[in-house]
């Protein structure tokens, strides 16, 4: 009897208690009206005055694109202030360590069970570890692999139901968590051995309103000789080593990144866990914590993951991320006044630029390229309008992409992976791929908003232990 109740709680708990934060409904009526109210005049302008309308639109797109790049550059600058970084030291009082819950949601990952066992065995935490592997009940292969491995940890089976998402599995496991703190790891993760001890120290030494710590993520197969893994490593280097610390310093709501999120379990329960209908539940929960007056900080410890090596896999993952960011933006913009109240104007603007801007940049990028090509092939309207479109699209492409490329090149600097920096020059091409994922995500948001496109792991030829100096 407990199973169905837990399942209902895991699936609909947030929606029942705080429906305004649930992504079950993609868009509200008010948001649709606002959207149409903005779109219709723009379309009318372009139709009625094609020359000046297109020029104005191009200028707006270019300015938006460059603004996002400049905001990221600013975040990078703030986040790169290493001299002022506190740098947590692992808690040195082993006797005083609290119970720490580790949740590892698994789906069709039977091949990774030995890797999980190895990674967990490497964790240096003398306190009580409350490890829970969370699988879908009908994922027989993974369940069988866990049983065959005879692992000493608890395994929870989530009854099969929709939406079949990671946050729903985590919600299902949350009532069983015994730890004062709780962390999510993915199946292929390799956290640094002292990460939990560092997290305990950071929680205890930090302000009491810190509800979550985001560890840095990077890839153990970053240097695999594939375009995608290297670009991914640049991306993560920039994101987790510089941009998120920048958000942390500026106290802008921080979208969490997938794994290695360390929570105070009580705070997690207070906000009713994850949103099972949001496909980037990590990003959403970071913003939701800020909306409830909690703070999210970064933790100076790295978890090494596996960067996907295949384009199809990469595209599915990126599509989900883009769709999830759209969901997150829509959810938290249902009541912009509340977001301003809870996060302040700085937090509100930061949220627009970081969460909204990430999606918008990916959507705008091909528009700039197309506009530029159109100005070469056609001369729409007056010469002045043509010149404006040409100048603005070139400015957007050159300045925006140059800044994005430069930031990507700087991304691996902290880790000394300088040999990856030249790949930053390929960022304009990588951004076009991200744009494909963004449009795919937009399409899915309309057609199938909760669909979770599974990223397959265990495809790399590099051994996790081989990571990386």
């Amino acid at each position: 009897m407990l199973g169905p109740r837990l399942l209902a709680q895991a699936t609909f708990g947030l929606e029942r208690k705080q429906p305004q934060f649930s992504a079950r409904h993609v868009i509200t009526r008010a948001q649709a009206c606002w959207g149409l109210g903005l779109l219709v005049p723009v379309l009318m302008l372009v139709v009625l005055r094609p020359g000046s309308g297109s020029a104005l639109l191009t200028a707006a797109v270019a300015v938006g694109y460059i603004a996002n790049a400049v905001f990221r550059a600013w975040l990078f600058w703030v986040g790169s202030d290493l001299e002022k970084a506190p740098g947590e030291h692992p808690s040195d009082c082993d006797a005083d360590l609290p119970v720490y819950t580790i949740l590892i949601p698994l789906y069709r990952e039977a091949n990774l069970i030995p890797q999980i066992a190895e990674a967990l065995a490497a964790i240096d935490y003398p306190g009580d570890l409350d490890v829970k592997l969370v699988t879908e009940a009908d994922d027989f292969e993974t369940v069988a692999a866990i049983e065959a491995a005879a692992l000493p940890w608890e395994c929870l089976h989530v009854p099969a139901s929709e939406p079949r998402t990671k946050p729903k599995a985590c919600n299902y496991a949350l009532p069983f968590a015994r730890g004062e703190f709780l962390v999510i790891y993915d199946a292929e993760d390799r956290p640094e051995p002292d990460q939990l001890k560092k997290a305990v120290a950071a929680f205890r030494n930090g302000p009491p309103d810190v509800a979550c710590l985001q560890a840095r993520l990077n890839f153990f197969n970053a240097k695999e000789t594939r375009f995608l893994t290297r670009m991914f490593a640049l991306d993560y280097g920039l994101w987790f080593d510089y941009l998120l610390p920048g958000l942390d310093r500026l106290q802008i709501p921080m979208p969490l990144g997938g794994t290695s999120n360390h929570f105070r379990t009580a705070a997690l329960r207070a906000i009713h866990g994850w949103d099972p209908f949001n496909v980037t539940e990590d990003a959403d929960i970071g913003i939701r914590l800020a909306q409830r007056g909690f703070r999210v900080k970064t933790l100076d410890s790295t978890t090494y993951e596996e960067a996907t090596t295949r384009f199809g896999n990469w595209l599915r993952q990126r599509t989900r991320w883009m769709k999830g960011y759209m969901q997150t933006w829509l959810v938290h913009m249902r009541d912009p006044a509340a977001l301003v109240r809870n996060a302040g104007w700085g937090g509100f603007l930061g949220f627009q630029l970081f969460v909204g801007g990430t999606v918008l940049s990916a959507l705008l990028n091909p528009i700039l390229w197309l506009t530029f090509m159109a100005t070469i092939l056609f001369v729409p309207g007056s010469a002045a309008a043509h010149a404006t479109m040409e100048t603005m699209s070139v400015a957007g492409i050159v300045l925006g992409n140059a800044l994005f490329a430069y930031l990507a090149m700087l991304g691996p600097y902290r880790r000394g992976w300088l040999e990856l920096s030249p790949y930053g020059l390929l960022v304009p091409f990588y951004w076009l791929l991200i744009s494909v994922a963004a449009y795919r995500g937009l399409w899915q948001l309309v057609r199938n908003p909760w669909h979770w496109e599974k990223t397959a792991h265990g495809l790399t030829r590099m051994q996790p232990a081989a990571h990386v100096r």
Partner: protein
């Protein structure tokens, strides 16, 4: 140039020179120079003929400032080698290219071999990565300069050659390099880096001057003053340091006046 505009330019440049003097004085004081010596060295370094010619003071000061910023950026990176200093140094070189393309390019070519981080010295791929990282902004600016020069037929060099004011160009030239103002103490590697910048800046400017832009000579001489302060500031501490620094900057200043006098004669 109208007398009013000239007055504004002279007053602005004079104010900027005073600000730079204060900065240099603070820098020397932080390196254990006595206040009196620091003050004398700064006055000697900035007592340049170019700063007494109303028509040239603006352009020559910007020229000198850019050289100083590249030197400061190089020294700063040599000491810290963190990611911010890569950006600052790259930005400083990029900004310098607008005023002194040859000097900027020379600095860009020579500096990375001195300033490579330790790990990059052992691995050619890391060296390549570091070069790309450091030279990205200068390369971007070089592209922009070439575009404006070849397509739009405009550039910054004319201003430095003619002494005509161009506030927009001056702002453009300084802006990317300004953050390098965040100065701190240099070590010996920093001294080497500053020396390279000084040589590159001087050689680049000289080359330009050789092609008939006489005013550029004054600008080069003026730019050597602040760079000299950076250099003497990095000398190892010892009983003779302050005296040697005073003599060196004094000689530099005398040389500057002699060369200027010869040129006018």
């Amino acid at each position: 140039m109208s007398p009013g505009l000239l007055t504004v330019q002279v007053l602005s440049a004079f104010g900027a020179i005073v600000a730079l003097a204060w900065l240099l004085h603070e820098d020397l004081s932080s390196r254990a120079f006595s206040s009196g010596s620091a003050r004398t060295i700064v006055v000697l370094a900035l007592a340049q003929p170019a700063f007494l010619v109303p028509e040239l003071i603006g352009s020559c000061f910007v020229f000198a400032l850019l050289g100083y910023l590249v030197g400061a950026g190089a020294g700063h990176f040599a000491q810290h080698q963190d990611v911010r200093r890569v950006v600052l140094l790259g930005g400083a070189i990029a900004g310098a290219e607008l005023a002194n393309p040859t000097g900027g390019v020379l600095a860009a070519v020579m500096l990375p071999f001195v300033l490579r981080p330790e790990e990059a010295r052992k691995d050619a791929r890391k060296t390549t990565g570091f070069l790309v990282l450091l030279l990205f902004l200068p390369a971007l600016f070089a592209g922009a300069i070439a575009y404006f020069w070849l397509v739009r037929h405009t550039g910054t060099m004319q201003w430095f050659a003619s002494g005509e004011p161009g506030i927009v160009w001056a702002a453009l030239a300084i802006a990317p390099a300004l953050p390098a103002f965040a100065l701190c103490r240099f070590d010996s590697l920093a001294a080497a880096a500053v020396s390279i910048v000084t040589i590159a800046w001087w050689a680049g400017g000289l080359l330009f001057a050789l092609f008939g832009h006489a005013n550029c000579t004054l600008a080069i001489l003026a730019s050597m003053g602040p760079l000299a302060v950076l250099l003497v500031g990095n000398w190892p501490q010892g009983p003779e340091r302050e005296r040697n620094a005073l003599v060196a900057t004094g000689l530099g200043s005398v040389l500057s006046w002699v060369v200027s006098g010869v040129q006018f004669l």
